[in-house]
Each structure stands twice: as C-alpha cells, then as structure tokens.
C-alpha cells in the first residue's frame, strides 16, 4: 500500500500533458533540518505492465549547479518534451522510463526547485556535502517509497555528474558495508561525457580541439607548452593561451555539439 506521504506527492497530470499510463510523483525530501535544506525529486515510473518488476534508476545532471529536470528529464531521457511556447508537452519516443523507473533529483540544494533556508549554503557547496545530502535523500526517499527498497538500483548521469555519480556510489557502498541487510541495492552506474580527471581530461580535450580543427597548430603548441593541468588553477600563460583559442579561433559554435547550429 502506498504511504500517505507518497500519495501526497502523486502528480495527477502536468499542465498540457498527453494521457499516459505510468504514475508520476514529485516533491521534497528534507536532507538537513536545521539549515532547512530540501531536495526536489521527480519520479516517472516505468511505462510497463508492472513497474514493480523494473529497476530504479537515479539520473543526475552536472554543472555543478544544473538541474536534472531541466536537462535529463526535459530534453534527454524523460517521458515528455516541452513545446516551444511551453504550453504543452509531447511524448519522447525513446524515454528511458520504457525500461526503468526514472528518478530525477535536483542536487545540491540551490539547484532548480531544491532549496535551503540558510543562504550561506549556496556559497559553500561542494562535492562532499553534495554526496552526503544525496545519500540522506535516498535513505529518506526510500522510507517514503518502501516499494523501492531492495529493488535493483542504478545511478546515471552526465558531465559534472562524473563526480556526483561515483562519489554517491562510494557513499552507498560504504553505508551498505555497515548494514547487514542493505536496502539500497546498488548494482552499478552509467555516466556520459563525464568529468573524470582534471589533468587527463584537459589533455584529451585540447587534443580533441586540435584533431577536430577547432584550434590552430600554434595555439595547440602554446596551450600544451604553457598548461601543466596539474592543479585546478592555471598559470597566466596557460589562461592566455586558452582564452586566445576561445576568443579568436573557436568562433560561434555550440561547444557541446560542434556540428549543430549554435543557439543565438
């Protein structure tokens, strides 16, 4: 039986939404009572004959500071797309909820609808607290949705979630090690275009810029000779070389998709 709290979160229908057979829930889970930090989630259950048989998949976008509802849910893997005038929704033929129950989480507090009552929280967020709050969210969310306890569970995400996902996976792993019958049944994770290692990511990124003819040979040489990428802080020469590339060689492209039109 669904908990009362769960029923309170049920979405009857979104404005302009087409008729669907799967259930949806959304709402807040408090992750830090004293600071009034609460994370917002949106669950789109599996569009299958019995969602109870399908795994649960948590999706996180990166940034840091970007919303899984703005990107993951609304333009990537969610069941709906928003039309140009934002007056109605239409179905995504390749929605991932055709295979699984998809849980979108706006994380950390300050992203999207997720909020904090302590405004200083917005100026000292970081990997550690984000992972800690996300684990707290999961434990409390699974109390509200006990039908998902012990269910096959996967994490997924892209970009800076290349940090969030493995860090949360590690937290879950350590939490489970200290509990005899762990209810967060993590089986694995999948990440796309994931921020992984500052040094190697940067070297590989500059190689991509050069091999895809976005930057000149001389700029490639000046970046590779002045940038060590051994710390998050770049030297002035390195900064100058990269800024030159961005300002004079890249041109007006969509860096996130270099062969499609850029958005003016």
């Amino acid at each position: 039986s669904l908990t009362n709290e769960q029923e309170k979160d049920r979405i009857k229908a979104l404005p302009g939404q087409p008729e669907v057979a799967f259930s949806q829930f959304s709402g807040y889970v408090t992750v830090h009572k004293k600071h009034g930090r609460a994370l917002f989630y949106w669950l789109t259950e599996a569009a299958t004959h019995n969602p109870l048989e399908n795994p649960l998949v948590l999706w996180l976008n990166g940034g840091p500071g970007c919303s899984s509802i703005a990107y993951g849910a609304s333009e990537e893997i969610g069941p709906f797309r928003i039309n140009e005038t934002a007056s109605s929704l239409y179905l995504n033929k390749y929605s991932w909820n055709k295979q699984a129950n998809i849980l979108f989480l706006e994380s950390p507090a300050g992203v999207g609808f997720s909020y904090t009552n302590k405004s200083s929280d917005l100026r000292d967020s970081g990997d550690k607290r984000t992972a800690r709050d996300a684990l707290t969210f999961l434990k409390r969310w699974m109390s509200r949705f006990p039908q998902y306890r012990y269910r096959d569970f996967y994490l997924s995400g892209e970009s800076y979630a290349g940090h969030y996902v493995p860090q949360l996976a590690k937290k879950i792993h350590d939490y489970n090690k200290n509990h005899s019958n762990p209810f967060i049944n993590l089986k694995g994770f999948i990440v796309g275009n994931a921020v992984t290692d500052i040094k190697y990511d940067n070297i590989g990124t500059v190689a991509y810029w050069w091999s895809h003819s976005i930057i000149s040979d001389s700029t490639y040489k000046s970046i590779m000779s002045s940038c060590k990428f051994t710390s998050a802080k770049y030297s002035q020469n390195c900064d100058d070389a990269i800024n030159y590339a961005w300002n004079y060689e890249f041109g007006e492209i969509d860096q996130y998709s270099i062969y499609t039109p850029s958005c003016n």
Binding site: K12, A13, S26, G27, P55, G63, G65, S67, I69, A70, Y71, S74, E76, I77, I82, N83, A86, K93, Y94, W96, Q99, G110, G112, F113, Y115, N117, L122, S125, G126, K128, S159, H163, P166, K170, H173, L186, K187, G188, I190, V191, G192, N193, V195, T196, D197, Y200, D201, N202, I203, G204, T205, A207, Y208, D254, Q255, Y256, S257, Y259, T260, C263
Partner: protein, 148 residues
C-alpha cells in the same frame, strides 16, 4: 535553444502547483543552472580515478560513454583518463550497430565498459535518442552493444 522551453514551463505557477514544487516560495526564479552554486563551488576532487578503482574492485557494473561531437568533455578526454586505469581488455574495440548504421564504437574491460555514440554531443540522448536508448537497454541488461 531547447532549454528556453524549460525556463518557461517550470516557472508557470500551475506547473509548480501540479508538481508540489516551490511550496516555500523560493525567492528566485527556477532556472536550469545556478550561477551562484557554480561560482562558489568549494571542494572538487582532482581525480575520480581512485574512486573508480575501488568501485570496480567492489564488482559494480560500470559503463562510461561519450557523445563524439562534444568539445567540452570530449571523447578523447574520457579515453585519456580511462587509459590511466590500466584496465585489462576483455573485448577489443569494435563498432556497434543500430538500424544498419554504426551507432558508435565500444571496448569492454575487466570491470568497465566504454562506448562512444556517433554524432551525439554532450547530452547524448538529446541528439541521438535512439542510440542513447539502446545504450541504456544494453547497460541494464548487462549485455555488450550489438555487433550488427
């Protein structure tokens, strides 16, 4: 410009009501990315590779993929980082197919599967939704991507 649609839709009061969102009356509009969080991000791990090593050793199913037209976290960035895990190759590099077309390339290591998605950018399911869906299906099934 597709994210402009979300900026409009999720700031509609009737949408927020239907989603039980913004119940405390947040003092700022809903937006796709918070500049304040990004500009003030405090701790960020230099490398996730040590965490990957621990999670691979713990036996989790781990897949990484790259849309190959992204220049922000491009496919060569991920491949170069992955190469420093020194994983053993189980199934050598091969093209995977969907509808008779190469959907991308993949290589399976002991403990991790890597795949590219041809013609997709940073947000793979946005530009190559069908290829992204097959990738997800294969991941959930624990099966290698199709060779034909």
């Amino acid at each position: 410009c597709i994210e402009n649609n979300a900026e409009k839709y999720y700031n509609r009061p009737d949408v927020q009501h239907a989603m039980h969102a913004n119940s405390t009356g947040i003092s700022y509009k809903w937006t796709a990315c918070s500049g304040e969080l990004l500009d003030n991000w405090k701790d960020s791990e230099f490398s996730m590779l040590p965490t990957y090593k621990k999670l691979i050793a713990a036996g989790y199913r781990i897949w990484m993929f790259s849309g190959d037209t992204d220049s922000v976290v491009p496919v060569t960035a991920t491949r170069f980082s992955l190469s420093h895990l020194n994983l053993t190759v189980k199934t050598r590099w091969y093209p995977w197919y969907l509808n008779g077309q190469v959907g991308g390339w993949t290589e399976v290591y002991d403990g991790l599967t890597f795949a590219t998605v041809r013609g997709a950018g940073h947000e793979v399911p946005l530009l190559q939704p069908q290829r992204g869906f097959l990738l997800f299906q294969s991941f959930l099934a624990g099966k290698n991507l199709p060779r034909s």
